[in-house]
Structures are given as structure tokens and as C-alpha cells.
């Protein structure tokens, strides 16, 4: 199971969504799709047309910058960060 860490801006949008959740997935996109089945609409908050990660959403797998098709291992840590914008 991958250890997924989500941005604090996401959790208020989906009742019951924790900041930290475990999923079974082979890629970053598969991990997000897994979350989508439990919290419908979540994918659209992280993934835009293409599909591609939204421009100010960054993903890291085990500390390395990742894209949607980056592999996720069984014990990987996947950090999803809301970056850069604000003010």
C-alpha cells in the first residue's frame, strides 16, 4: 500500500477525506483514481485536461518529482503538494 499525503486545501472539499491515506496503485494517476472512487470529484481537483496534473499541483514519489505515470511501489510515499500560488 502506498502512503499518500494530500494538501490541506483538498480535505475541506470532501467530507471524511484525511490528509493521509493508504491506497493500492501502480502509478500516481492510479492512486488518484483510487481516491476518486471513494471521494467522487477528487480527481478533477488534482488532474486537468490531457490528463495532466494541474499546473500548481506537484507530486513527489519517495521524494522525487513525479508525473501522472510515475510508478508507485508497494511501500512508496506519494506527496501531493499545492504549490506556488496564493497571496
Amino acid at each position: 500500500m502506498a502512503d499518500v499525503r494530500l494538501p490541506g486545501t483538498l480535505t475541506p472539499l470532501f467530507p471524511g477525506l484525511p490528509r493521509r491515506v493508504e491506497v493500492e496503485a501502480a502509478t500516481v494517476l492510479a492512486a488518484i483514481d483510487s481516491l476518486e472512487t471513494r471521494w467522487p470529484g477528487l480527481r478533477d481537483r488534482l488532474v486537468g485536461e490531457g490528463p495532466s496534473l494541474r499546473s500548481h499541483i506537484h507530486a513527489y514519489v519517495d521524494g522525487e518529482r513525479a508525473g501522472l505515470d510515475t510508478p508507485v511501489a508497494d511501500r512508496s510515499r506519494l506527496d501531493v503538494i499545492a504549490a506556488i500560488s496564493g497571496g
Binding site: P40, G41, R45, E49, G50, P51
Partner: protein, 357 residues
């Protein structure tokens, strides 16, 4: 007196203001988790509030509240051009009710509709095939913040007939629910070359009076009036301090009375001479009067965006406008005198008013 409710969209969420007498106002908010909200409306058909919002992190969505803002849900299901199209939705700009359709205008230019009051959406039209659409349909011509559907004029009871504004292109009318469109820009001024005779105009705001034949618009170059339901336009700028502005509102009971807020057309886009002023005509644009009583008259370099002025439907209508720096002003006497309802809101994108029985 029935309750008057303002729905205010800001760069940091939506706010609600309520009053039983239009003197004392209670402010609630921010709502929508502080997302940038570009247009928020109360929909008398459903009694719901809808807010078009676009987070820099989490994309575009329409928020809705069935209890006058106490609780909110959001959805963007179907609000996409798809993975293969090439166009992206960078912003949801504007909302309107048209019969059983809830419409949202987006950037890149397109109109999506919801038939279930904002829960799911589908693409209604990109006005494809209209003169100029070869440019606005090209994903390469999609700089953020430009070229979207920036406004609608609808009839709440009519699903099929409405106007849409394509930013920098002009106004279009459909009478068949978006299947076909007709440009409605005849007689408008433009001070630049254009590839086509019927498009290439910069319509900022379009409003329709209680007589559907009588319409007004604030254009990039001039205020205009139509006496034939938008089929032709006559410029009525003379007497105003400038020809540029965004906001406009028409009196609900008097088709001759119309309000605008001219602003400097350069980079500043603030009110002329630092004096906050709403200009009113009582004779359909033949003459204009500045309405300043109660508004700041020194160093008031205020901008007002296209959806940020509105007027209520009381017998003596109240006029309201919000500024891009967060001040909200109101007049309960048709613009004669003004008070500041809020001075420190986030930058205001839109102001909508409803009279609730």
C-alpha cells in the same frame, strides 16, 4: 419590507449581506473555502445560490448553496473539453439561469449547461463556425485571463433564447438553445481594424430592460443603446467623462433609466479624477447626471468590474456596486445618495441582489 440579499463574489470567496430595511446590513462569509469567485448569483427559480469559482490549485467548479449560503457543495462533473480537444478550462467566468438550463460561461470560450441545478454539466456550445471562432477555438490562442464567455442576457422563463458575449469578439444571440447563433453588433463602434464586419467588437456588459426591445451596453469604446432587442445599436456616450467602463445596470421599472460607472481606459481602469461616481441617465442616454452624494470624492481610485453593479426590484430600487479593492457601496434611493456597506472585503468580482418575500 421583504428581505434584500446581496451575493458578493470576491477573490477570496463569496459573501452574503442581508437587510430587512436596506439600512442595517448583516455580513456573512467568506464561503466557498476562500476560492476566487468570479460570479455568484441567487437563482429565484430554485432558491439556490450558484458561484462560479476557479482555484489556482484545484481548477474550476461551480459551488451551490440551497440554504442561502449556510452550507455549500461544489461540482465540476462534465465541466471539461476532454482530454483530446486541446482546449482547457482555465476559468469559469459567469453564470445565468435560462429556463431549465443553468448556464456557465468559461475560458477558453464555451458555454456549458446543467439541467440538474449545478450537479453535472455538459458542453452546450462554443459558437463554432461563427466569424472569429477559428481564432478563439485554437488552443494556441488561449492566454490565461483572455477570451472567454464573459456574460449572458437570459430570460429566467425561456430555455432557448439568450445572448452570450465572447470577450473581444462581440455579442451573439441564440433562439434555439445554442444550436445556432446570430451576431448582434450592428452599429457598435470599434477603433481598430477587424477581419469581419459583424464581429471584432469588445462588449463589456449587456443588460436588458423590462421592455425586451430596450437594451443597453457598456462597450470598450462607448455606451450604447438598442431599441430593437439588440439588432442594432446607437452610441450614447456624449455627456459622460469617458467611453470606457465595465459595469452597467438598468432600472427595473423604467426603461429610460440606466446606470454606468466610467473608468479610465488605460492601465489604471479606475474612476475619473479619483472621484467615485455613478452616472445615471433618465432619458435613455440623451443626458447623464453624476451621482456622488455619499461616495468618496478624494483619492478614490476605484475600479469596478463588469458584474459588480446591480439594482434591486423594490418600488424605489436600490443600486449596489463593489470595487476591485473590496469596498461595497449601496444606494436605497435610485442612486441619489450612497453609503458604504463594507470597506474591507477582498477584491469584488460581482454583486447580485435578490428581494426575498
Amino acid at each position: 419590507m421583504p428581505k434584500t440579499m446581496l451575493t458578493v463574489a470576491t477573490r477570496k470567496g463569496a459573501f452574503i449581506l442581508e437587510s430587512d430595511d436596506r439600512r442595517d446590513w448583516k455580513v456573512r462569509g467568506p464561503y466557498c473555502e476562500g476560492w476566487p469567485v468570479y460570479h455568484a448569483i441567487y437563482d429565484p427559480t430554485t432558491g439556490e445560490i450558484y458561484a462560479a469559482a476557479a482555484s489556482e490549485w484545484h481548477g474550476s467548479a461551480v459551488w451551490r448553496s440551497a440554504d442561502l449560503g449556510e452550507t455549500w457543495e461544489m461540482s465540476s462533473e462534465g465541466l471539461t473539453y476532454g482530454d483530446e480537444d486541446g482546449r482547457k478550462i482555465s476559468k469559469v467566468s459567469t453564470l445565468a439561469r435560462a429556463g431549465d438550463r443553468l448556464l456557465v460561461g468559461v475560458e477558453a470560450p464555451g458555454i456549458f449547461e446543467s439541467r440538474d441545478n449545478g450537479k453535472t454539466w455538459s458542453l452546450l456550445s462554443t459558437l463554432s463556425g461563427q466569424h472569429g471562432s477559428e481564432s478563439w477555438d485554437d488552443p494556441a490562442n488561449q492566454p490565461p485571463g483572455h477570451l472567454g464567455i464573459s456574460g449572458f442576457v437570459t430570460d429566467h422563463g425561456d430555455s432557448d433564447s439568450f445572448f452570450a458575449i465572447v470577450q473581444g469578439i462581440g455579442a451573439f444571440e441564440t433562439e434555439d438553445g445554442g444550436s445556432s447563433w446570430t451576431p448582434r453588433n450592428k452599429g457598435l463602434r470599434r477603433d481598430w481594424p477587424a477581419d469581419y464586419e459583424d464581429v471584432g467588437f469588445c462588449v463589456h456588459k449587456l443588460v436588458r430592460s423590462s421592455d425586451p426591445q430596450r437594451m443597453y451596453q457598456q462597450n470598450h469604446v462607448g455606451m450604447h443603446r438598442s431599441d430593437d432587442a439588440g439588432q442594432s445599436w446607437t452610441e450614447i456616450t456624449e455627456g459622460l467623462p469617458g467611453d470606457f467602463g465595465f459595469a452597467a445596470a438598468v432600472h427595473p421599472h423604467d426603461t429610460e433609466t440606466f446606470y454606468v460607472i466610467p473608468v479610465d481606459g488605460g492601465h489604471g481602469r479606475t474612476m475619473h479624477e479619483g472621484k467615485a461616481t455613478v452616472w445615471r441617465t433618465r432619458d435613455a442616454g440623451s443626458s447623464w447626471q453624476p451621482m456622488r452624494s455619499g461616495l468618496p470624492q478624494e483619492n478614490a481610485h476605484l475600479g469596478v468590474l463588469r458584474q459588480a453593479m446591480t439594482i434591486d426590484t423594490h418600488d424605489t430600487p436600490g443600486v449596489y456596486f463593489g470595487t476591485s479593492t473590496g469596498q461595497l457601496f449601496a444606494s436605497a434611493d435610485e442612486g441619489e445618495t450612497w453609503t458604504e456597506l463594507a470597506g474591507y472585503l477582498p477584491g469584488i468580482s460581482s454583486v447580485d441582489v435578490a428581494v426575498l418575500d
